[in-house]
Amino acid sequence: MTKRIVVDPITRIEGHLRIEVIVDENNVITDAFSSSTLFRGLETIIKGRDPRDAGFIAQRICGVCTYSHYKAGIMAVEDALGITPPLNAQMVRSLMNISLFLHDHVVHFYTLHGLDWCDITSALKADPRKAAKEAFKHTEYPINTGEDELKRVQKRVADFVKQGALGPFNNAYWGHKTYHFTPEQNLIVLSHYLKLLEVQREIAKMMAIFGAKQPHPQSLTVGGITAVMDILDPSRIGEWKAKFEMVSEFINYAYYPDVVMAAKMFNNEQSVLKGCNLKNFISHSEMQIGINEYLFSTGVVLDGDLSKVHAIDEELIKEEVTNSWYKYENTQEVALHPYSGQTNPYHTGFKDGQSLGPDGKMIDTKLLDLKGKYSWIKSPRYDDMPMEVGPLATIVVGLAAKNPYITPVATKFLKDSGLPIAALFSTLGRTAARCIESVVICKHGMKALDTLIENLKSDQTTCAPYVIDKNKVYQGRYIGNVPRGMLSHWVKIKDGVVENYQAVVPSTWNAGPRDHKGQKGPYEMSLIGTKIEDLTRPLEIIRTIHSFDPCIACSVHMMDTKGNALGEYKVEPNFAKI
């Protein structure tokens, strides 16, 4: 007898996400459906505006990867207009990008994903002295795990628990059988979880030094950057450098050992080691540290075959809407390239039905229409194939391309954790890949600052001049990699204003619904075959979904090439206006 399970809201992510799965009599997931239940339509809003404003609006796609879309929007317009920003601007953009990546990854591991690995209630039973010793097993220089520090952390949380008002820790899956850290290990991670709340604030300042603020920095302009006084101020550069070093320490001596420890302790946990099922990866060059020098590689790896890396043909990137709440009009094509994409919302509603309730009994719920449209996210495809993007793709493509920055760090991680290379293609591998990416940036990121300083000695230009000719038509794109994976923004400019705008974002690649051939995307594929220990507390589902670092507002699209007014959109008559 199969059962339907609904998890909505998926919390500790950006945006609104619902997962529905079907489990068989052995509690094994046989089918999975990923749906976003929010629609915002920012791409439509960019249309008709000054191209110089595109980056500012695009930035508001997401306040978590807050710099990604800003930079992408500015660079897509630069590409269209044929502008190459001065090297100083390129390097400052990299410094901000480094801050973003490091911020995003540590906040993800601790604040958003950490509680899937670390059982707080178990940490309260730990012996702080043993825990302090344990920390040395995983790194030579542990951070925030001295015996007294751990005692204090334990007491602080114990007091909190005693009050019975658990606040944000309330009603989680504590005590779940798939938690595998010892009480001492849980205490170490908990201590880092709390420490990170301070550390992330400092990393945010790294972004603010050259970016004005974080979230939503404001120092990029088409052609270059505006933080000219800051880069000419040695104390600001020094401030950035000091913070970079502090963050690198946290990453090398807290984050990395915690992930290695997780890899060791969860190496018998099938729900995190069970393969991805979909082993196609796409990743793009990013993280510039010098003139034409980048830390990440470009390429496609198919079916987990690390012996080959295929070049990316941008013409083969397309999006389809067979199972998304949109409709393509006036075209025979199933999938459209972003330059000619369209987005006409076409919501077909939920179905009334039953799913497993919180107390284990079947209850009435609104269910996704599994045979029809069921998500506000489109389905991007490369050469008609679904692809996983994100740090795992960066690492896999990096290994296949024998990338000199990525290969040694990834190899060391496998050695330290004792995992075979095949284990990378899993929930655990995805979580580890994010850490590997961070370590690579810590090791080599400072080169971008050195390049900037060297260049400033002879060249202080920060912006390239340009003209937007109202009689010309322009077309351009940004394609690169952001913390959640490959991102592309595509823009057309006509009459001096934006005619068309489309963003194909990482979470769309990963979270999209199936396509017309029935091919599922990475979220859905990664869940199939997972055994759920307790159907009313599906920790395995949220752990795997969190390993992608979902960022859903990003992937909620809308573009309408025909300039329809709202009244002309196709809407179901039974949905009244509120």
């Binding site: 929010l38 629609f39 606040g167 709340l197 945010a204 000219v228």
Partner: protein, 382 residues
């Protein structure tokens, strides 16, 4: 001085009253004790209280009251809802400043529901929300982030497909105070910009109770935290401006305290991003700064613990705490004075909305500022 005395007495009385309220966390009697358990010493706390006092534009003698306000804050449960948004406001809250102030938020206000931070998911998360509304009936603060789509299927939350608007109404019904955090929930925000494809509305249009707007994209961490303290001290809405923004934070224009104001008055302008005037830190008006039309305290308090703010980083203000700024303040890198009758939407911008009182003032100000910039520029060239 006499007014200050009155205010001081009023706040003291209010705090005494609050101190007598039932305590949510029974054994949490003294915030200093709690803080010291968390490794924050008394000195740091007093420093923080002093900083918050200045933030709230109160005289320094009020610092002990600010500290007291934080002390009684532990009795205030908070429910935070996400609507159509980018999570930037939550992220801003997480950056809240000074030693371990994040712990104060985390532990001292009783954060009952916040989707980005909470451990529970699915049904367990929904239960947390329902329980909090029931348990703290009439006593909790509701904070809402994001615009609210009024075409219902554009946002649903939970297995029962509850709409975002309904979630707001249900939580607002028993709330003691309601804050719209950020420009999206205050004024509709980016998704409500032309052509507003999801018919997004601000929170105040969705519910019938009074809403305090804390706009900004995102609002600074101080403006979020400061408002909570203001509520605790006065037990009522703070003095608000025409757009329901607290005057303590949004009473002055960015321009009034801008670090580049001297250059504006002297007629010294950056003409293009990247020119030599940019290196000298001249005024950004001519590359589009909207500081003269924008009410906020950024020029005083900055962002990320005073690290920087847009004008320091050489980019003009985009006016993000003003209603409809995406439409009325754009293009962001052109002076507003140049654009009054020539917007990208054939008059949808500042001129078309000029029939509202606020915008008339904005337009008049725009003309005035433009004239001033021109005159002072001419004076400089002589």
């Amino acid at each position: 001085m006499r007014d200050n005395k009155k205010l001081f007495d009023k706040i003291s009385k209010r705090l005494d009253l609050l101190a007598k309220l039932p305590v949510c966390k029974e054994d949490k009697k003294d915030i200093y004790e709690e803080l010291s358990k968390k490794g924050i010493d008394r000195r740091d706390f007093v420093k923080w209280a002093g900083m918050m006092t200045t933030t709230l534009a109160l005289p320094a003698s009020f610092a002990p009251l600010t500290a007291k306000a934080a002390e009684v804050a532990n009795r205030l449960p908070v429910i935070w809802l996400h609507m159509a948004e980018c999570t930037g406001c939550s992220e801003s809250l997480l950056r809240t400043e000074d030693p371990s102030i994040d712990s104060i938020i985390f532990d001292v206000i009783n954060l009952e529901y916040h989707e980005t931070i909470m451990a529970a998911a699915g049904y367990q998360a929904e239960q947390n929300l329902e329980n909090a509304i029931k348990k703290h009936q009439g006593n909790y603060i509701l904070m809402v982030e994001g615009g609210i789509p009024t075409i219902e299927y554009y946002l649903t939350i939970g297995a029962h497909g509850k709409t975002g608007a309904q979630a707001c109404r249900d939580a607002a019904e028993n709330a003691a105070a309601i804050f719209a955090i950020g420009t999206c929930s205050s004024f509709g925000g980016v998704q409500a910009a032309y052509p507003n494809p999801t018919a997004a509305e601000p929170l105040s249009k969705i519910i019938t109770k009074p809403v305090i707007n804390v706009p900004g994209c995102p609002p600074s961490e101080k403006n979020i935290v400061g408002n909570v303290l203001y509520f605790i001290m006065f037990g009522a809405l703070p003095a608000l401006d025409a757009f329901n923004r607290p005057k303590w934070a949004y009473g002055n224009r960015i321009h009034d305290l801008c670090e580049r104001r001297g250059h504006f008055d002297a007629g010294e302008f950056v003409q293009h991003f990247g020119d030599e005037n940019a290196q000298k830190g001249f005024c950004l008006y001519k590359v589009g700064c909207k500081g003269p039309y924008t009410f906020n305290n950024c020029s005083k308090l900055r962002f990320n613990s005073h690290t920087s703010w847009p004008i320091q980083a050489g980019h003009g203000c985009i006016g993000c705490s003003e209603p409809n700024f995406w439409d009325t303040m754009s293009p962001f890198e052109e002076p507003l004075g140049n654009k009054l009758y020539h917007t990208a939407f054939n008059g949808f911008g500042a001129d078309k909305t000029a029939d509202t009182a606020g915008m008339v003032i904005l337009s008049a100000t725009a003309i005035g500022i433009a004239a001033h910039a021109l005159i002072s520029g001419v004076a400089k060239n002589k």
